[in-house]
Symmetry: C2
Subunit: 329 residues, 2 copies
């Protein structure tokens, strides 16, 4: 995977070959359509509610209509839902086309676009169907963030804080010294943090593409986060912010994670405008948890913190997890 | 990929781990259900008309209902449609489970189950969506063929004759000396030919899994064959038998293939009960051809014979191919 920084958007054409098809989120298109004058374009609403098979069917129909063949190169331009879906459709159309991403949200830049995981939801079950398949490139262009809403900007910092919590205490401290406003107003500072996060995630997925060990750590906050995301129609960052708080609580209970550090994590999430608590319907959330990809028969693999910057994967029997669930939340 | 011959069906359990789910064609189930007493089973009608996304949706729902997780091992038991679809669903469910095949038709034994190509049709376009992903094993058990219809038995010999035509003149001669009845009545002879064909296909796909060069040869008869298969609702073997005859005709015209050998190929197909001619609607067939995965912009990659046992991949401009199409057929 080639990570491309600091190039003008016009340089994109140098990376996509002769037969590019740009698959673009409608939100991005509204603000940046002029960039794609004269190109083959497919537009769609890349929101979580559309992250499902019927949208894939639509994209396939559009590709057939455009006579896409194995020489075609697909470029996904949008947030994480867009890159997840374009990566998936590129992996299955004609058994696989080459593809690249232009992430247009913080979340996609530091997380979703990196690592080759793609796919769609099935009902309430997140990313139940998909493949692991790497893009040719990820193209970073911060000007695209100018049209990003405050809510979406905040959303991305949930994954940044997650990376800090599991892997990088220095990054955690740096984040404590800043605010969302600092990053919105200072592209150099934003680049520093985005670049750091790209390095963290890339290092993890390069070491362990198929998620046998190291890559599992990235799931911190995502076991409970995924279970509540679609049920309560939360933005992904909100869901995993709450998920991290709940899993930090479990970490405190059974993994010797200090309550002071749990508090520091909660405070940092609040500092970046992220929610840290949700009243949940335990029965419903539990039923979704049981379908999580990290379940293996009667156990759940869950990422717990030992300290800030240091996480472990624990195998928790479902009976114990249910018990924790009932007493802690 | 492990090829398993000469073991009793009861040995299957040694290859599938603790959490097997058997996905079985209803036709097979009717005759062999006793084999699967007490196992987790998903049944479906694995026919060409069902080789589409809605059936994949059904299989995914069933897997969720059975609480399939990443420790689950899927076993596809049926003909080529079954192995294509089980391979596909295993490749995308939770981003990939391990899987194996028990092919129950000649066609699946010598061709479809081998090589890792899987997928589904989209409307009239064959195998438009899928992945390339290898099974853990292919389990051969000739007793399963006892319930195979004559039509299906004949169907499989189209791919056997194809292998002979592109790769193995000795096999071609051996086939000339026998008939379908010989193979139905003589398991040792059948095994000799099945085993030979497994070797041919396995050698090709091992050398060139991603179909960059050698593997393309396996598409002999399949460019035109696939274009007519769904349009005229032909059994796969019938479609590619007709496709081979038409592509042999093109080979004679532009690839110096002798007309005597073209005749020998046609006669061998007839000897095995396969059709060698079809009156086609050229416009409709041409429109489907244009969507073939072997098309690259204004050219079509087509496999042509030079002599029996010796095939080449030729890049034919669409304008020339259309011209041949109009004059020869």
């Amino acid at each position: 995977v080639q990570y491309i920084f600091n190039e003008d958007i016009s340089a994109l054409k140098n990376y996509v070959g002769q037969h590019a098809i740009f698959i673009i989120d409608n939100n991005v298109w509204q603000h940046h359509s002029l960039m794609f004058n004269g190109e083959k374009v497919i537009l769609f609403d890349a929101n979580e509610a559309n992250k499902k098979q019927s949208t894939i069917n639509f994209l396939i129909e559009q590709l057939i209509a455009l006579e896409a063949d194995r020489t075609s190169f697909l470029v996904g331009i949008g947030g994480g839902v867009c890159t997840d879906m374009v990566g998936y459709v590129a992996s299955i159309y004609m058994r696989g086309l080459k593809f690249g991403f232009v992430p247009t949200t913080i979340l996609a830049m530091v997380d979703a676009a990196i690592g080759g995981k793609n796919g769609i939801d099935v009902g309430l079950y997140k990313n139940m169907v998909g493949t692991i398949n790497q893009p040719q490139f990820i193209f970073y262009h911060y000007n695209l963030l100018q049209s990003l809403s405050e809510v979406e900007f905040i959303n991305g910092f949930a994954e940044i804080i997650k990376h800090a919590a599991i892997k990088d205490k220095e990054l955690f401290k740096l984040l404590q010294q800043h605010s969302i406003a600092d990053f919105r107003n200072n592209t150099a500072l934003l680049h520093e943090v985005v670049y750091k996060n790209v390095q963290i995630k890339n290092q993890v997925v390069t070491t362990d593409e198929l998620e046998q060990h190291e890559r599992k750590l990235l799931n911190f906050g995502h076991t409970i986060g995924h279970a509540i995301e679609n049920l309560y129609q939360l933005p992904h960052g909100h869901a995993i912010s709450i998920g991290m708080c709940m899993e930090a609580h479990i970490s405190e209970e059974i993994n010797n994670f200090y309550s002071e550090e749990k508090l520091a994590l909660t405070q940092l999430l609040q500092q970046y405008g992220l929610p840290t608590h949700l009243t949940i319907d335990k029965e419903k959330v539990w039923d979704i948890l049981l379908k999580d990809k990290k379940r293996a028969q009667e156990n759940m693999a869950m990422v717990l913190l030992r300290s800030i910057g240091n996480a472990t994967v624990e195998t928790i029997p479902l009976v114990q997890l249910k018990d924790l669930f009932n007493t802690l939340f």
